[in-house]
Symmetry: D3
Subunit: 159 residues, 6 copies
């Protein structure tokens, strides 16, 4: 597998995402982390900030690059010549949703392939929403996100 | 079974809905598709538009009629003398929700009956939300909705 | 819907099954309860006994008949001219299995239709296996099975 | 177990909540029902109203007290010296979410313990959201909530 | 909560079980681990061996005692005056089964109470069946079971 | 990804398996299909027969080879220098089990990686057990298995 595409909203990236990226980087020649532009007004970080945070968090991984994308995932997939989309699996409800997305995308574009990776056990229940909620309530988010994300979250919520 | 009631928001109707309607029409003398008035501001189509699109899509089915309804489903059920509500099942999360709805309705009205039908395999993961998202992003929605719905969606999103 | 087919192993019939039969009888002109011959050596009751117990338990329902069947369900379905198979839904794992069965049967015979009914809330977690285990351990099974089944279970386990 | 903490938004308390509180009161010396301050603008009742309704509904239970709380649950837990958080389980999707919350809280504070109780079967599918929706549509909510909650709901929706 | 009853087949006890026992011991005055006699011929260890292994593994916990039991759990529950049964939750399928068991037992005996505890994250997917399979295939089982169980498993499988 | 390992019992291989193999062959340089020796007495086909049937069914795929294996999967994985195990996902219950297996294997060998692929929608509910049951009952298995498997199944069941 040469090019893996890892799409998401990453608002912000957390250690479960990073774990999936590292696993993908180990299996593929190149990993493109694709940050979805259009996730609505409730995003805490702008698209540029989200891209920057991922770039900082993946600096140690040569084969990883980060890009913002708009429009259909299948179009971006075709444009970069991806061999597969990578998704991390967490819990059952997740699995249902991922299944649905993968099947829809395959109907839009038959050669679309999705591979699911399993993050380490300690990240199975992690989500960006929970991390933001904990930060908002003054909790310690150090164990859940890369250091620059922790700083950015605190700065954002303090302002 | 004489009268089946198929309630939903149908914003808009898609091929999975149509599949369920056709199956119900095959089993029952009359199928009433009941479009819920009150689904909030985030509806893409008005109640009249949603009713019209279903009527167009079910023109080939003599025993199907379409109606808007407000208020409790159990009251509408009693008013039309329905023998059962029909619901299409898709995925597990769906099933949970349907179960909950059916049990609540039965507590409100003991003679309330729900039958679940299974759409064809290619529609199991279809949803109105996904269809709208694909249309919004410029994707091809032909395989997922009846033709008049595809036109209406494109017209609406272009405006 | 004229003819509903309700297949199962019914080893033995319990109140959840009976609830589904009564609901089906209310919706359809005729309900055929089909007892599967081939469920292996671990059956507690013979096929004749299982048929007899269902007949006793459904004596009050004129439109219900009971039959043993061997071979493929889709063949029996065609032979009696059924309009749909009826299945009771209980829990999630159940739902998965029922889905799989229904899809396989539809691939074997496209006109095969399955409708799922929901038993009353107090029967949602009932199963023949649990009833037998409770009886074996000397527990009170009165709340879970029709009276003749309770007697038959006790007689069988005492011998 | 001396002190159990039962957190939630309780907007408003329903019979499933009350069932869990009664079970917890039976197992523990003291039950603190903790009403979350921060559940967003979509709350139907203010924090004071929600606390009052729970107090009325639990008047017959000497060992139960009600408090509003803000901030992290683990901090409130430590402040009152709780031995465990109590949560009622309903359906699968619920279970997933509860699992995630419990694991996150344990990572924030290792001594954090969660015990799950099962409400009576007739409350397994009850939710505040559904109760409010039924009330809004003019349905009978008597079977689902304590009497003072029913009155408060009707008064609120009539205004 | 004074007396907690923790029933199971424990063939053999593993670290996930032990984790649940330790949590229960922390919450209750006394924990009775009840080993089910009747789990069929496929048990690897005899009832006496299973009791012995649990006793060894829980020697550091003063408030824990181990007993074999036959018959209905609700009868044993009544006999020892238990306040609640304790069960560890692992995955969704588990949850379904536990729900069913708890509801059946409550119908057999209304005062029967079940509390569910969550083992540490690293034990969430552990099962006796998997441990035995790994041991059989020559794998390292040290991380999954207490030391005496590891020795007993190896001795048993070597013979 | 250079070497993917696809383990299973394959008793016998069906079109869902074949779909996963083809997808893996598209993503990796080499796919090793590993047939588990030890699946107990209830296997319909011997290990040699199962290997032969897979070889016939994958003759058109140059990069696929088939091997029998005994013992721990992690040991076989290390021996052939695999980069990842490939598993096909079907339904929720499946997912749970696969999760458990993947986590256990990772604890036995930290570098063990599992990637999950999604078969085409029409294979999502296919299983070897169901195929055998249909064949046993005289049903048409042509749509579910490669031709040589269909012949072998009929020959085996006729004898």
């Amino acid at each position: 597998m040469r090019i893996a595409l890892y799409p998401g909203s990453f608002d912000p990236i957390h250690n479960g995402h990073l774990d999936v990226i590292e696993r993908a980087a180990h299996l593929c020649e190149r990993v493109v982390v694709a940050v979805a532009q259009n996730i609505g007004k409730e995003a805490l970080f702008s698209i540029e900030e989200r891209v920057d945070l991922i770039e900082e968090a993946t600096r140690h991984l040569d084969s990883v690059e980060v890009a913002a994308f708009e429009g259909l995932l299948v179009d971006f997939y075709a444009r970069i010549g991806a061999d597969a989309v990578v998704r991390g699996l967490r819990a059952v409800s997740d699995f249902e949703y991922e299944f649905q997305m993968a099947l829809m995308n395959r109907q839009l574009s038959p050669e679309f392939e999705t591979i699911f990776l399993m993050p380490s056990q300690e990240h199975i229940f992690l989500s960006s929403r929970m991390v933001k909620e904990i930060a908002r309530l003054g909790g310690e988010i150090g164990p859940f996100v890369p250091e620059p994300v922790a700083s950015a979250l605190l700065a954002r919520l303090r302002s």
